[in-house]
């Protein structure tokens, strides 16, 4: 009798649960329809996270607070061992709270990494931040434009920029990762389609969708996927695809800034022995960068910034193109620059404009522009040497050495500045220019 009663109760409980489950779907749908819920149930969340968020209810906020307090205390005391785990727990307790993900990833990538002196240690923390956002944050919030943008920002600014003393190490470490994946800077999409292991690694470990990468290649040109700009563009594009108008504005800005950066230093020169790491201008991207700016200007939330950025880009591009002996291409940009920049005289020649821009920048050359100036002068020198004009070749050689010396002079007594923003040794740049000339003669890009 007792057994029968127990079975009866069990059946009743199961029936009740079944009805509740059916009703729950409709209730969730209604809550979503009427906008009376802050968040849908966590998507893609593992059972432990769903259990934690449901079972702990409001108490999970208190636990998250306590963990957060511990995390802050440990960070203040200089004890970093637990911070990855604490960030993991805190974010899992609030899996739909994007600010929490963004804060902790930022904290690991920016605040903690810089506390270490060795580049290897710093890179480990930068990776922790990237991994937290990419592997977990996006898993629970797959269509969250803010997180996609933040991830892109890590690539654009932390890895791609040069504000961190260890930025070159980050770039090299990331490039080594991508090199092992793609075997070079340009992914072979046919091979990716054929090779299920590679495809799986790409999509599972790096969350890179080959279809979207191909789309980006079509829209933004032949990017070098070993470099961070391509990845910043990838994540910004994903953010743009799922975000609203404002998110699209932010994403557009990241895209045109990263494209500018890729034009400026988006060509990785590693040498035949793979023993060099030189970032050189990627001039083939010019039409794509122009298109990206034109498109961004059409977006009302990005227009003002895009116009300013475009104007600066045109000035920089004209100088770079001229330096690399592409005067026709540089001349082709002049009408657009004249229409946007009132400082440019309508009657000035290309040479006059280049000189005024270049002289104006004299004291404020960036490392990339300085590098480009030196390398392009060497390029010209080698070109004219091959043409048999020794005098001109010597002149360009002198110019290259002059720019290098002037740029490096204030850095010679400041090892930190030299390490962060200095140029490679002059003979190394000359060798890079020679290699570029050999490549251009053999028809290689």
């Amino acid at each position: 009798m007792t057994l029968l009663r127990s079975i009866g109760w069990m059946l009743l409980i199961m029936a009740g649960l079944s009805v509740a489950a059916r009703l729950n779907r409709a209730l969730v749908e209604d809550r979503r329809t009427y906008g009376i819920t802050q968040a849908d149930p966590a998507i893609n969340a593992p059972p432990l996270v769903v259990f934690t968020t449901v079972a702990l209810g409001g108490f999970r906020g208190i636990i998250a607070d306590m963990l957060w307090m511990r995390s802050s205390r440990l960070q203040y005391e200089g004890k970093y061992f637990e911070l990855v785990q604490l960030a993991d727990w805190i974010t899992k307790l609030e899996p739909r709270f994007t600010d929490v993900w963004a804060y902790h990833a930022w904290n690991l990538t920016y605040n903690i990494s810089v506390l270490f002196s060795s580049p290897e240690d710093r890179w480990r923390w930068v990776r922790h931040g990237v991994t937290l956002l990419r592997d977990d944050g996006l898993r629970y919030n797959p269509d969250e434009p803010r997180l996609l943008f933040e991830l892109g920002w890590f690539f654009q600014h932390k890895i791609g920029g040069d504000t961190d003393d260890a930025h070159l190490y980050y770039k090299q470490a990331w490039a080594a990762d991508m090199q092992s994946l793609f075997g070079g800077g340009r992914p072979d999409f046919a091979r990716i389609a054929r090779d299920p292991v590679l495809r799986h690694t790409l999509m599972t470990n790096y969350k890179l969708d080959p279809a979207l990468m191909q789309q980006i290649e079509r829209d933004h040109g032949p990017l070098d996927w070993r470099l961070p700009q391509a990845h910043a563009i990838y994540w910004a594009t994903r953010s743009r695809l799922v975000g609203g108008l404002v998110d699209a504005g932010f994403a557009d800005r990241m895209i045109y800034q990263s494209m500018t950066d890729a034009f400026r230093r988006g060509l990785l020169v590693t040498g035949e022995q793979n023993d060099r790491f030189i970032l050189a201008p990627h001039l083939e991207l010019l039409p794509y960068v122009l298109r990206v700016y034109e498109k961004a200007i059409e977006n009302p939330t990005a227009r003002v910034g895009a116009e300013t950025g475009f104007r600066h880009f045109l000035r920089e591009a004209i100088v770079l193109l001229y330096m690399y002996g592409r005067a026709d291409q540089a001349r082709g940009l002049l009408p657009r620059l004249r229409s946007m920049d009132p400082d440019i005289s309508p009657t000035a020649t290309l040479e006059q404009i280049v000189f005024s821009i270049y002289a104006g920048q004299g004291d404020q050359l960036t490392t990339e522009t300085a590098y480009a100036s030196v390398e392009s002068s060497f390029y010209q020198s080698l070109f004219w040497q091959a043409m048999g004009d020794a005098e001109k070749a010597h002149g360009y050689d002198q110019l290259a050495r002059l720019v290098w010396q002037r740029f490096m002079a204030p850095r010679m007594d400041r090892p930190d500045l030299k390490q962060r923003t200095g140029l490679p040794p002059i003979e190394e740049i000359r060798e890079s220019a020679r290699q570029r000339m050999v490549d251009s003669r053999s028809g290689r890009p």
Binding site: G78, E82, Q85, L115, D165
Partner: protein
């Protein structure tokens, strides 16, 4: 004594049979087996070892404490509830013997569980060290981390007396001062401490350490310090450390470019003079950026001397943990003597929760600012009440809050035999017996043989 042992064996058997204790033991095994594989470290061997020691052992100790508190609450209250206590109460067994028997039995259970966790954690640690994930450099780092080091701090002047003397001898009457004498004294004291630990640009500062008497080891010392720089955003500061005696202050010199806010360590070969004479540590601030260097005023400058192998330090930490468990067991049994089972269990768990939150409560009590709603400008009655509650709780919990022994173990700092012995006698024995005396008094006052009891 035989009576106590007999009761002890009975209570051990009863605890082992308890379902709740069985569930907690399963949880314990689960923690020991799974936790090391699911915890995310920072990717270094030091971080991995640190987490293994502090998380696995820390969490295991908490679960054992829960099991013992539950078993302790259950031990007396359940017997009173189902009246089996009457068979004992009618025998010539004193109430204290009854309490002591239960306590001894459950202590034995706690000892066995802790020993199990200790052995498993040690085995996991050894397995980690044998893993081929780590390079020889990693292993050398972790050997240094695991060796127990004795800490030596610089001799400090009496800042309080010095501040008092300066304020009396040379009062500053050149400008109006609306601070109270106590505030002036406190601020002067802080300034003196800051001056003691700071080094101005292109200047030097010296600290004297007592001789390393009784240190027979010849392995090198470690100078450990953390500092901040007066130049905001500066990532590296350069300078030079000199270590020696008053007569020869430069027996060891080390030029360094070090990083603010992180722990910096320098290996210092031991000099024979340092066992007999005070050690003088000098820092020359040679930073071209003009930064003033301020050492961490709480634990800013420490000389670490290798003292004991890891295993010995580990054993002492386990003893300290055992003392804490012994006290919690006593607490559980005492609660069981005072209340019925559900109330006793609830009270015990509440106390355990408070003990676990003890460090936060103490932190909040120390930092009154965090309890003040109006940013410290005007304290409301609620603020004052909150501050009083936190301070009261912190005072009550001070003997119960677990120390930082696990952190010390993981950081390679010595937990002395004296510390272990002090915990065992004070917390594990004396405080527990005090609770026992109180519990037996309460049991004596309680009528155990009434039908409704």
């Amino acid at each position: 004594m035989n009576r106590i042992l007999a009761i002890a064996l009975l209570s051990l058997r009863s605890a082992v049979r308890s379902r709740m204790v069985a569930v907690l033991m399963c949880l314990l095994v689960g923690i020991m087996a799974l936790l090391p594989w699911v915890i995310k470290g920072d990717g270094t061997i030091s971080g991995t070892i640190h987490l293994l020691l502090s998380y696995s052992l820390g969490l295991a100790t908490t679960v054992i404490a829960m099991a013992l508190l539950w078993a302790g609450s259950f031990a007396v209250s359940a017997e009173i509830q189902d009246k089996t206590i009457q068979t004992l109460a009618t025998k010539p067994v004193s109430r204290f013997h009854l309490w002591a028997g239960k306590w001894l039995g459950l202590n034995l259970l706690g000892f066995l569980l802790l020993a199990f966790c200790g052995i498993v954690t040690y085995a996991l640690l050894q397995a980690q060290l044998r893993s081929d994930r780590w390079t020889p450099d990693d292993l050398a780092t972790v050997q240094r981390q695991l060796t127990a080091h004795a800490e030596f701090r610089p001799d400090q002047p009496d800042f309080e007396a010095q501040a008092r003397h300066e304020l009396v001898a040379t009062p500053d009457r050149t400008r109006p001062d609306d601070r109270s004498p106590a505030e002036r004294l406190q601020q002067r004291r802080q300034t003196l401490i800051a001056e003691f630990y700071s080094v101005r640009p292109l200047n030097r500062n010296q600290w004297t350490f007592s001789p390393l008497r009784g240190q027979t080891e010849d392995r090198p010392l470690i100078l450990r310090y953390r500092f901040t720089s007066s130049v905001i955003g500066q990532d590296a500061v350069s300078g030079r450390w000199l270590i020696g005696t008053a007569e020869k202050p430069d027996q060891f010199t080390h030029t360094i470019t070090h990083t603010p806010r992180v722990w910096n360590e320098i290996t210092v070969p031991r000099h024979p003079d340092w066992s007999a004479k005070p050690i003088v540590v000098t820092y020359l601030n040679e930073d071209p950026g003009g930064a003033t260097l301020l050492l961490d005023m709480d634990q800013g400058l420490t000389l670490l001397a290798p003292a004991d192998p890891f295993a010995v330090n580990y054993l002492r930490v386990l003893l300290v943990k055992f003392a804490q468990l012994s006290f919690l067991t006593a607490l559980g049994i005492t609660a069981g003597c005072l209340f019925s089972l559900p109330v006793a269990a609830l009270v015990s768990m509440y106390i355990l929760l408070l003990v676990q939150l003890g460090s936060y409560i103490q932190g909040m009590a120390t930092n009154e600012f965090s309890l003040t709603s109006a940013a410290g400008i005007e304290r409301t009655t609620i603020d004052l009440a909150l501050i009083a509650i936190y301070k009261g709780l912190a005072f009550l919990l001070s003997p119960l809050v677990p120390g930082d022994e696990l952190t010390r173990l993981a950081n390679g700092l010595l937990v002395t035999w004296w510390s272990a012995l002090r915990h065992l006698t004070l917390q594990g024995l004396l405080m527990a017996l005090l609770l026992g005396a109180f519990a037996s008094y309460a049991l004596n006052r309680r009528e155990l043989a009434l039908p409704q009891s």
